[in-house]
Symmetry: C2
Subunit: 418 residues, 2 copies
């Protein structure tokens, strides 16, 4: 059997460390040139496979690939595109096989979250359904930390570190100002369904900061929330609120959806933070400030967690090793061995058990009143934000890689995306 090429793609929202996984995949494949030919990356994720828009990573120097470890975002472009079932969209799957055949691709490495695990699982089944040999390996990635089986997901540790550091710094700020000015600071963080990212804000409690966390897992109760803020401001003179973007009322209505309209009558898309801040102002009269971290949090490679970067690289590397060992339809995982000292090993999960399963915060990680995190949660989180892994700087800014991303010559006729 001639050696096969590999396909690698990045999927869904990018992170500070997804390129570290790409680096792990490409460097490990390069170290096994006897078994793996070239690594072709999909330009803009799976869309690159469907449209035969492949990037030849063999044209990138070892230095450039090494720099990916320090570069946030998706170096080859990502996309939000979920393949339908084999039955519902046979044409797309047939196209994938055509592209794989045309470019002698036998390994499919897909780097993403829950939706991508599902896509990867579907691709893994192509081998059986079509008779074309393809090994599909999912490399986990998501700031949401909501994939099952794995103890944590690459991307999460860095966003958690960013949120914990930012919450600490902004809380010191509001503490300084509280006597005559701002008494409540509200930070909105990501997390549509799971509160893992907001939980990281709770780590500042051990630094003496009064903080209220609002999770998507806990139905928002305005009067209980206001009572909590009132009590903390009376006790400490100020408090900080960290609110998940997905925080909602018991009836499912998001805090961010307030039916707000601007002067022209247009519906106004706002964040949860200004809603919470105005609520505090109206009920308690406190001056507030609010911030929405949005993309800043997930792209903040400058303050990435060294643990997270290391694991992202290792899982990319392990993905290639699993493929070389003949596996299909699997995902490398982090298996925690101990909290302190933090020890873990790399495991493996079948994609059939990963796809379409979302992992929420366990109830025992959230305090009884719903506004904080427990000691168990802190034991879980602290190892994940350990260590700094600074990029190099030039002229005051980080040196981040922009690859050449040269295309592979097309061999097939064009394909229209649905």
């Amino acid at each position: 059997m001639t050696k096969k090429n590999a396909f690698y793609a990045q999927s869904g929202g990018v992170t500070a460390v997804i390129n570290a996984s790409a680096c792990g995949v490409i460097e490990t494949a390069r170290a096994h040139k006897d078994k793996i030919g070239k690594v072709y990356a999909g330009r803009n994720g799976i869309i690159g496979a469907l449209t035969e828009d492949l990037i030849d990573t063999s044209k990138e120097s070892a230095t450039a690939i090494g720099q990916l470890r320090y570069t946030p975002s998706g170096a080859f472009g990502s996309c939000r595109f979920k393949l339908k079932s084999l039955e519902a969209n046979k044409r797309e799957y047939e196209r994938l096989i055509e592209v794989f055949k045309a470019h002698n691709i036998g390994y499919f490495f897909y780097n993403g979250g829950g939706d991508s695990a599902d896509t990867c699982y579907k691709v893994s089944q192509l081998s059986e359904a079509t008779g074309y040999p393809i090994q599909a390996i999912h490399i986990p990635k998501t700031v949401d930390n909501d994939l099952p089986i794995t103890d944590c997901c690459p991307g999460f540790g860095s966003v958690a570190k960013y949120v914990a550091v930012s919450t600490l710094e902004a809380s010191f700020d509001v503490r300084s100002m509280a006597k005559t000015s701002t008494k409540v600071f509200v930070l909105e963080v990501m997390g549509r369904h799971a509160g893992w990212i907001a939980a990281a804000g709770g780590l500042v409690e051990d630094h003496g900061i009064p903080v209220v966390l609002l999770f998507p897992e806990i139905a928002f109760d305005e009067s209980k929330f206001l009572a909590r803020v009132d009590a903390l401001v009376k006790l400490h003179g100020y408090c900080t609120v960290v609110v998940s973007e997905g925080c909602h009322y018991a009836d499912g209505r998001f805090l961010a959806e307030q039916g707000t309209r601007d002067a022209f009558g247009h519906a106004q898309l706002g964040g949860a933070a200004p809603v919470v801040a105005n609520m505090v102002k109206r009920a308690l009269g406190h001056k507030f400030h609010w911030a929405v971290a949005d993309y800043l949090q997930r792209s903040a490679r400058h303050i990435a967690s060294a643990t997270d970067v290391k694991q992202a690289y290792e899982l990319g590397k392990k993905g290639v090793q699993l493929a070389l060992a003949g596996h299909n339809a699997v995902m490398p995982t982090i298996e925690r061995v101990s909290d302190a000292p933090y020890k873990y090993k790399i495991g493996m999960a079948p994609l059939s058990k990963v796809a379409n399963v979302e992992k929420f915060m366990p109830r025992n990680f959230i305090t009884k009143d719903g506004f904080g995190i427990t000691a168990s949660c802190k034991r879980y989180l602290i190892p994940l934000i350990q260590g700094e892994d600074y990029p190099a700087y030039k002229n005051g800014l980080p040196v981040y890689a922009t690859l050449k991303n040269l295309p592979v010559a097309k061999k097939l006729s064009p394909f229209e995306l649905p």
Copy 2:
């Protein structure tokens, strides 16, 4: 003459490096124990002086004071409180003199921005008006970078570095997503009247990022703005917008004031970023994300500029040296000698020329179309964000100092603040 004690206070919005100036003041005063007694800090700024709520910094260890160099926020508390003129509020000035007398204070170090320079100038005149000898020195501090005479203001370099780094990282993120998702990212930064902070976002242009800057100095023209975004998205597939909070229309109306009301009819305080983002969506149809950095930007000690930290310390130190040399009513300044290599010296400005003067972006720092920065502006900005000066970390979080802040025993009867 017996040696006098010193009073030090932090004023207005705090920064990532105002405590580095405090460190410079206290360490330098401690090195001159023959001439300066104790350094008393005002708890919550000038309010601490009026209410005789003084902090005895001599109770803090050398280690704790040294840690201030790495700690964001105002370690002694700050306040927003502007003294009226001597004629309008004689009572407050008399009280200051009473407190100074009671605690043998002969040196007044005031660490703040424009309003504080004015307060400091008024205090400097007390000596003449009342016959009580007091030397008032203003230590510059403001993220707004709007003090006159000094080439730059401590606090600005760090917020500029934060904004440049964050804009770079988030732009890499949106570039990855643009094919099927977000095409426009909007970051709102501080700057009510002057666009210095937004200008820092323009430094990412040299990294190939298409960016549109919106300054308070340039009246907002919606159609020109939308045309610019449209052109950039057509050319690059995406673009980033950095908008000053103080950006406004020609008639003075702020972008953030859209007369927005929530479902209950309450006026909604929003940011400029969501307004700009929704404007782009309506006119051009692009998917957007937006962030509001708020306090995160000015408290981000974790990514402070080494140049800024060094200058903040040096100006604190110089303030004490000027006092020892007999000066009154002055402010130490940064005098730029050359851009590259960056060289500067510490100068001195009379407070009469500093108080109540605001320094805006010069027109030749802004491109003709009003949406970018010129090469002159880049030459000005680049030295100010040079170098990293990382704090120590423990358990994944920066080690920031929380002082004991022990009170000095009161000697006077209470004073009611107006």
